[in-house]
């Protein structure tokens, strides 16, 4: 078994919203007790609707948000807790590709500067080496050498995302969190970027956390999939188990919603549908958060929150009827 690169242990990120004067302070449980593991070289797909806490989870892993409770270990170094993490070491281990390629590049820095500055900051002082690594990285992501002195606004969305990927990989990290890396791109460009990410994964031995609300993307790239609903993981497992034998009604609903009539898994479970909208994380329904939308709702679903129980090797689902769903 490959070594564990990232472990989250009961991670929670809560926000206090509202004011003490108007309606009182409420706790928004954006991430509420997530336990996950990512091994070296594997790709974990993290799926869920907008507002389920995927991006908050990513920011907490990156150290940009302080977790309310729980532990994060990256490369066996604990990064949450009382002592501030070694940000430089973190930077060389975990990097991130952002969703919006238009807002994620500094409009006043050329591609060369965007890529060379982090190298210099991390102690690569030899000019020739910096230049060589910048050029090498640009070639890897499919940018031509003459692009080096251009500014972000001179590129298309797909090219900008390539620059964003190059920036994330320039320090040779082990884990890259891709926060909806293609959802802001034209459909015609998406496949290119996804394939580029997969090539780079093999070439550089990277592990990914692929955050997406698009199951099609996740199915294509992931070794394992975790499904998130209102701050909690409701099901996780290998991509084959998740897509062929989903045990949580929410996962089934997501798969049924794949807009592809020839999709095998989607066609077989097309009956399952989730009703209504995702509930507010400010005021989640009692018991299982999914119960108001669930076609299999029973009394126990309102009374008790189901735990993540094993349904197969490495396959966990948080549903009271995990053994009956199929």
């Amino acid at each position: 078994m490959a070594e564990s690169l990232l472990t989250l242990d009961d991670l929670a990120v809560h926000f206090m919203v509202g004011s003490a004067f108007a309606g009182g302070v409420k706790t928004l449980k954006a991430v509420d007790g997530v336990t996950l593991e990512v091994k070296a070289g594997e790709c974990l797909g993290l799926v869920g609707e907008s507002g389920c806490g995927k991006s908050t989870l990513a920011l907490a892993i990156m150290g940009l948000l302080l977790p309310t409770r729980g532990l994060i270990h990256v490369d066996s170094q604990q990064i949450s807790g009382s002592t501030p993490p070694d940000r430089m070491a973190m930077a060389r281990t975990v990097q991130m590709v952002f969703q919006d390629p238009y807002a994620s590049l500094n409009p006043r820095q050329t591609v060369r500067r965007t890529l060379a500055d982090p190298l210099r900051l991390h102690g690569v002082n030899d000019k020739a080496e910096v230049e060589a690594r910048v050029m090498d990285m640009m070639a890897k992501v499919g940018l031509r050498p003459e692009h080096a002195d251009r500014y972000p606004h001179e590129f298309s969305g797909g090219q900008r995302q390539r620059i964003g990927i190059a920036r994330a990989l320039i320090l040779k990290p082990k884990l890259v969190i891709c926060d909806e890396p293609v959802s802001a791109l034209d459909v015609s460009i998406r496949a290119q970027i996804i394939n580029l990410l997969l090539e780079l994964k093999d070439e550089m031995g990277l592990a990914y956390i692929m955050i997406s609300h698009d199951l099609g993307v996740v199915e294509h790239v992931s070794d394992r999939v975790a499904v998130m609903y209102l701050g909690r993981i409701v099901e996780q497992g290998g991509w084959q188990e998740i897509f062929e034998d989903p045990r949580h009604p929410y996962t089934r609903a997501l798969i049924a919603a794949i807009p592809d009539p020839f999709h095998r898994a989607a066609a077989t479970i097309a009956k399952t549908k989730a009703k209504g909208e995702i509930a507010s994380a400010l005021n989640p329904p009692p018991g299982c958060h999914f119960n108001p939308r669930c076609p299999m709702k029973a009394d126990v679903c309102v009374a008790d929150a189901p735990f993540l129980g094993t349904v197969g090797p490495g396959h966990l689902a948080a549903c009271h009827f995990r053994d009956r769903v199929s």
Binding site: A91, Q95, M96, Q99, L105, L121, E154, R167
Partner: protein, 284 residues
């Protein structure tokens, strides 16, 4: 006959405002630097009551004042004081304002509350009144003028800087820089500052015009440059008694202030355009 003056198509970066503004400011600055060579007489010593209040003409292009001194020469020398007060004090204001606004917006928390409170305090008291109080303590003179004006109107730069930082803080490239291990100061100087510089430069050039006017106002009140030394404001101040009998005494310093402030404002406008990297487009 239609009057169709076809101007040469100036395909220049920044457009007309940059070039008109730049030329006006350039003229004022070169007048200040070249004063000893282009002035016709000494601005202070060449007083001659026989020549008092001569209207503009061939011998004295802008006329003479009540002491018979050449107005043109005094304006040329006055440019030195007016411009240096305007430029130096606005640089002080910009440095104070941008430093406070940038750090307040970026760090937030108690520091932001403190800086915002201070800014509101400065905005609540008219800066000229504040400058008057400082001048009253320090006494008249060039140095105290620069100090008084340089410490009292940083609130606009501070406000603008803080607001800009707040809107940029959540941008992906700022987060990316943090993830890459950049320190706070490095992020502020390499990621945030270059992207908020445009509006700050416009504010700074506007402020220079404002500082020149404030110098004029303080000198007019007798707290700035003391007679007999010329600054545009003190010349106006001295000329107010003769405004009906010898209007050229006030018209020419006034025009000097007007064109310099206009030039600075146009220059700020033009600079904003060329500082935007998107103005140079080169598509693949």
């Amino acid at each position: 006959m239609s009057i169709a003056i076809k101007l040469p198509r100036l395909r220049l970066k920044g457009g007309m405002s940059l070039w008109v503004g730049g030329s006006l400011v350039g003229i004022a600055i070169s007048a200040a630097i070249l004063a000893p060579w282009i002035a016709l007489t000494d601005p202070v010593m060449d007083a001659n009551l026989m020549n008092a209040e001569i209207p503009p003409g061939w011998e004295y292009p802008f006329g003479t004042d009540a002491q018979g001194r050449d107005i043109y020469s005094r304006i040329v020398y006055g440019a030195r004081i007016s411009l240096s007060v305007g430029i130096i004090s606005q640089i002080c204001n910009s440095l104070i304002g941008v430093t406070l606004g940038l750090t307040a917006g970026y760090w937030g928390g108690w520091w932001d509350d403190l800086v915002s409170g201070l800014t509101n305090l400065m905005l609540a008291i008219p800066s000229l009144v504040f400058a008057l109080a400082i001048m009253a303590i320090l006494g008249p003179g060039l140095v105290s003028l620069v100090i008084a004006l340089g410490l009292t109107s940083w609130s606009y730069s501070c406000r603008i800087a803080r607001a800009q930082v707040l809107s940029l803080k959540s941008q992906g490239y700022i987060q990316a820089a943090r993830i890459l291990g950049y320190g706070d100061l490095r992020i502020m100087f390499t990621q945030v500052l270059p992207n908020i510089l445009g509006p700050l430069i416009v504010i700074a050039t506007l402020g220079m015009g404002g500082a020149i006017l404030a110098e004029a106002a303080l000198s007019f009140l007798g707290l700035g440059i003391r007679p007999p030394f010329p600054s545009w404001g003190s010349m106006l101040s001295e000329a107010r008694d003769q405004i009906t009998t010898a209007p050229w005494l006030s018209v020419f310093p006034g025009l000097a202030i007007f064109f310099t402030v206009l030039g600075l404002n146009l220059l700020g406008d033009g600079l904003r355009d060329i500082l935007d990297p998107q103005s140079t487009t080169r598509r693949t």
